[in-house]
């Protein structure tokens, strides 16, 4: 079981992620924006972080950059949610320190596939 932080301002997306990951035996912590996500990354160690990019208060890119400065999250896989048309955003997120991406819309199977890929489980 892994401890996974999911950061998205959409409650429905957070719920969909939580249901899928919980069903696979993972523990899921939720945050509703980049600021809350960063606060949780400061206070807890996660095995993986899944984040949207377009969020209020602090966007996903800024949050990823800040998380990469945290020693306790060194090497933590960060997956961002994107769309196939967001090629430029994908490059920005990778430059910010993201590990990989998941294309929206996604189904639970794709989410779990990416999770297994970065966690090796």
């Amino acid at each position: 079981m892994s401890n996974i932080l999911t950061v998205d301002d959409s409650m429905s997306v957070r719920m969909a992620i939580r249901i899928a990951l919980s069903g696979a035996g993972h523990q899921v912590v939720e945050a509703a924006d980049g600021k809350e996500g960063l606060d949780k990354a400061v206070s807890s160690k996660f095995d993986m972080i899944i984040t949207d990019l377009n969020m209020p208060k602090m966007n996903g890119l800024e949050m990823i950059r800040e998380i990469r400065k945290l020693p306790q999250q060194a090497g933590t896989p960060i997956i961002f949610l994107t769309t196939e048309s967001d090629e430029g955003m994908k490059q920005q997120a990778k430059a910010a320190g993201a590990t990989g991406w998941l294309v929206k819309p996604f189904v639970a199977e794709n989410l779990l596939k990416v999770t297994r890929k970065v966690l090796g489980q």
């Binding site: 429905s12 196939e84 590990t99 819309p105 966690l119 090796g120």
Partner: protein, 284 residues
Amino acid sequence: MSGPDPVEAFRLEAGELLDATEQALLDLSQDLASRDLIDTVFRGLHTLKGSGAMFGFDALAAFTHHCETIFDSVRKGNVPASAELVAVTLSAMDHIRTLIDDPDGEDVDTASAALLARIQALSGGDSGTAAAPAPGAPAPHTDDSAHQHGWHVQFRLPPDALMNGTNPLILLDELRDMGATNLVVDFSHVPPLDALDPTQCHLGWTMDIPSTATREEIEDVFIFVIDDMELSIRATDATTDSPVQAQTPDTMEGQVPNAVQTATATQAEHLAEHPGAKATRPPQ
């Protein structure tokens, strides 16, 4: 916290998003040059499309895709923002509400088609229907052979791969599951200990993979780093067996003593799990 089901949460969020997008459209009608408002409308449509598709509102996603596409063209300056476009998009907002509340209702398809015809008439031929390539789409192939019976793979990850969350051991496991053999570690880029940055990935790998794996499957292992790494996948054929030359003087080929492989795996694991730790050169 169990909460409501995600579909109901989506309906609630979609309603709020429609309200905000409609307001942006109304504001845009008073200021057609506003980049912020155009972006707001685009993002609203974009989110409605993506979330709708996630929660099974396929008709909503398909219809909204066209609305999003024309606003993407507006953002790029290919289609002008006009009062007519704002008006038809406001009508589309009403229709999207119907697609959320009663997606299987009578005349829904007819209404979608009529609105899409109006939207496409405004696109001026810049419908933007060409989709971007899928993330990680494989590069064109140039050296595949009908006679190949396997692959010789060489790769070196980006230096910051470990810090950015890529664990090489997991990639190696994936390759091993494809039947990788003759795994060789290339130490040639490992600097002297006093100059070594243990957070960087200094190792490279070579291996042979049987033809039961396709090139696409091998590339897919590296999907998140393939644009930033060194990767060579060469077909081996029956006549030459292995055409690959050593990439560097320190690259070892053929069978590797178990002690070296074990030590290398231990070092890689140590680096992957403790990127802040000091690494040592394994015995050779």
